[in-house]
């Protein structure tokens, strides 16, 4: 692989270093951080909001920019966690624990720098992992038939369900609701309009951008408005950024461990940054000599989860780019973006569009470097942003979302869809039904039906084909084991403990 690997990398960097692509990578990172730093807005909402901006770009530039938005938003989220103790999303919850304590002790600067250094290191390592593991995996995936694909999707959804907060049954129901919503529109095989009720705009299906923006953007705004503002920002006390020698001595091991764990967990379907950061924090608390300081501002408690969630964020691109299966909501949005650009995600992307594939991977490294170089000096601006009262922020966010979603097809329908799903999203959260599995289902619905249809056509209607093909059977058994494990009482209790923190 040696020479081929170098060839691929040089192709990738050739693409990523083109001026325009560098520019879009920079814009993505900047915009992602800018929106991601706003309190209560996580990467999912950020990407959903900025998605329309990328529609007019070429596929490569669009994906590079979206990836930049993604890690920019993630990084912005950790800034918010450290400075005001409001996690943008579940995966930065653990950063709040020790990061905010460090800020209260006047060590916000080193905490922010540690997060940046940890993220950068993890990003570099996992980009290499991505570049090494993607080709062989895609090779395997090319041999998959419809039965294997169907079972793989079942496995992916099972994993997503297991990782959802709260009740397992409700999470399964949310996946089913997503799959069903995904079926709305024109049936590809028969041409029948399904569940469109004569609404012309539904012929192409329920637009996932509007749904995602409603579920994660509008619902989030309403949730934030429901609680009164009470924020304490450590603006004046950021102080010097540079961690001390002692800090460096204490952070490098947690960063290494966090990177390794995060990269591993990120590859799993259903994995990604959330599992990675929780796992890394728990692990570090156990193995660290300073375990007793955790929760009171231990630098390890920032370094490990920040490295892990960036590593996980990066490696979660592996199932997306090789199998065409999203492992979490962000990746589901990426798939949606690819499809809008006319790219069918899957193992063929690498061979048919090598410049896009390797360009994207190379740009991830560049984007991570930009994050460190830009964000540390720009930290003052991000902090300013945190002091803007929410009553100015939310109308601004609404403006960007409304314009973005309207521009999807230049029709009011997507705005209506966003408003409706905003209300639904709020009801879901009130009833403790997590909306993330719904988005995964929505994206996978049509693909699952298509593959099941083909698999059953080949077997003349006998569903046993899903079990007689070894790989397919393996995925299904793995899915059942996953669900079984979570239903086991001991793990169930542990899982509730882990998720109770947010």
């Amino acid at each position: 692989m040696g020479l081929q690997f170098l060839h691929n990398l040089s192709l990738g960097f050739g693409v990523a270093f083109q001026w325009l692509n560098l520019f879009y990578c920079l814009m993505g990172v900047l915009l992602g951080t800018l929106i991601g730093v706003l309190p209560g807005i996580g990467p999912v909402a950020t990407i959903a909001m900025l998605l329309p901006v990328t529609f007019s770009l070429s596929p490569t530039a669009a994906l590079i920019m979206l990836a930049g938005i993604y890690y920019g938003a993630q990084y912005g989220g950790s800034t918010t966690s450290i400075l005001i103790n409001i996690p943008g999303e579940a995966s930065s919850v653990v950063t709040c624990l020790d990061g905010y304590q460090m800020a209260r002790k006047g060590r916000a600067g080193p905490a922010l720098a540690t997060a940046a250094i940890g993220s950068f290191f993890a990003g570099c390592v996992s980009t290499v992992i991505l570049a090494m593991f993607a080709p062989p995996l895609a090779g395997i995936a090319l041999k998959f038939g419809p039965a294997e694909y169907f079972s793989l999707m079942v496995f992916g959804l099972a994993a997503a369900v297991v990782l959802a907060h709260g009740s397992l049954l409700k999470a399964i129901a949310m996946v089913l609701l997503g799959l069903l919503l995904g079926l709305v529109g024109t049936d590809t095989t028969s041409g029948t309009m399904r569940f469109t009720f004569g609404i012309f705009e539904l012929a192409d299906g329920v637009g996932f951008v509007g749904v995602a923006m409603g579920l994660f953007g509008i619902a989030e705004i309403v949730a934030n408005l429901e609680i009164k503002e009470r924020r304490e920002v450590f603006t004046s006390k950021v102080g010097r950024l540079m961690p001390s020698k002692e800090d460096f001595r204490r952070m490098w091991r947690p960063i290494l461990r966090g990177t390794a764990l995060g990269a591993g967990l990120g590859i799993l379907p259903g994995g990604g940054p959330l599992l990675a950061s929780f796992g890394a924090y728990a692990l570090e608390k156990k193995v660290s000599r300073y375990g007793h300081e955790f929760g009171q501002g231990a630098i390890e408690g920032v370094a490990a989860p920040e490295a892990a969630n960036n590593a996980g964020a990066q490696t979660s691109f592996i199932p997306l780019l090789t199998l065409g299966i999203p492992s979490n909501v962000v990746m589901a949005l990426m798939i949606g973006a690819m499809m809008i650009q006319g790219i069918i995600p899957g193992p063929k992307v690498m061979t048919e569009k090598p410049d896009l594939f390797w360009g994207l991977i190379a740009s991830m490294w560049i984007g991570n470097a930009m994050l460190v170089v830009l964000n540390l000096p720009l930290i003052g601006i991000w902090i300013r942003l945190l002091t803007v009262p929410y009553r100015f922020l939310y109308p601004s966010i609404l403006v960007f979302m409304a314009i973005g979603v309207y521009s999807l097809s230049n029709s009011p329908f997507d705005v209506l869809l966003m408003a409706v799903f905003g209300i639904l999203g709020h009801i879901f959260v009130k009833l403790e039904c997590e909306p993330a599995p719904l988005i995964l289902g929505l994206i996978l619905g049509p693909m699952m039906e298509e593959n099941l249809r083909r698999a059953l056509l080949l077997s003349r209607g006998d569903p046993i084909i899903l079990l007689t093909k070894p790989i397919s059977a393996g995925f299904l058994v793995a899915a059942i084991i996953l669900l079984g494990i979570v239903l086991a009482p001991a793990i169930r209790r542990k899982r509730e403990e882990v998720f109770v923190e947010d």
Partner: protein
């Protein structure tokens, strides 16, 4: 008398049953087909049925296992947010970006805890200038800027 122990599960269960049945019944208008040749109704019927069953379990569980209360839905908030979005969406074409944005911002501002007219107007002016520059001029989105009857 039977008592609901978990209102959240009670309503969630009902919601899933309703959605499930909606798709199962809706699918009856389409061709079911056979397993080997799945018609457009086949997959939705299976999924909808499964969902209704799960909804049923969640529903009945709400009488057994204890769970949280449902806090009231902030109707006032949703009224203003939804109204502002729909006004923007449906009026953008006839009245143009500038006025549609002004409506969006002012109406949505009523959802906040405090409303200062001067503040809101200032914010509107800023956001409108920014949006026109970025979206209409910069990204070249084909929005009319001013009302039709003026242009």
């Amino acid at each position: 008398m039977i008592k609901i122990k978990s209102p959240k599960d009670f309503w969630a269960g009902l919601m899933f049953i309703a959605f499930g049945l909606f798709f199962v019944i809706g699918a009856r208008n389409y061709n079911l087909g056979t397993a080997a040749r799945m018609g457009p109704a086949y997959f939705p019927t299976i999924l909808g049925g499964l969902m209704a069953v799960i909804g049923g379990i969640v529903f009945f569980r709400s009488f057994v296992a204890k769970g949280g209360k449902v806090s009231p839905i902030p109707l006032r908030l949703f009224f203003f947010i939804t109204l502002s979005l729909l006004l923007f969406g449906y009026l953008l074409e006839p009245i143009g970006l500038v006025l549609a944005l002004a409506l969006l911002i002012v109406v949505s501002a009523f959802a906040g805890h405090e409303f200062g007219l001067r503040e809101v107007l200032l914010l509107s002016v800023l956001l409108i200038i920014l949006s026109v520059l970025v979206f209409a001029k910069g990204l070249g989105l084909p929005f009319p800027l001013w009302p039709k009857f003026l242009g």
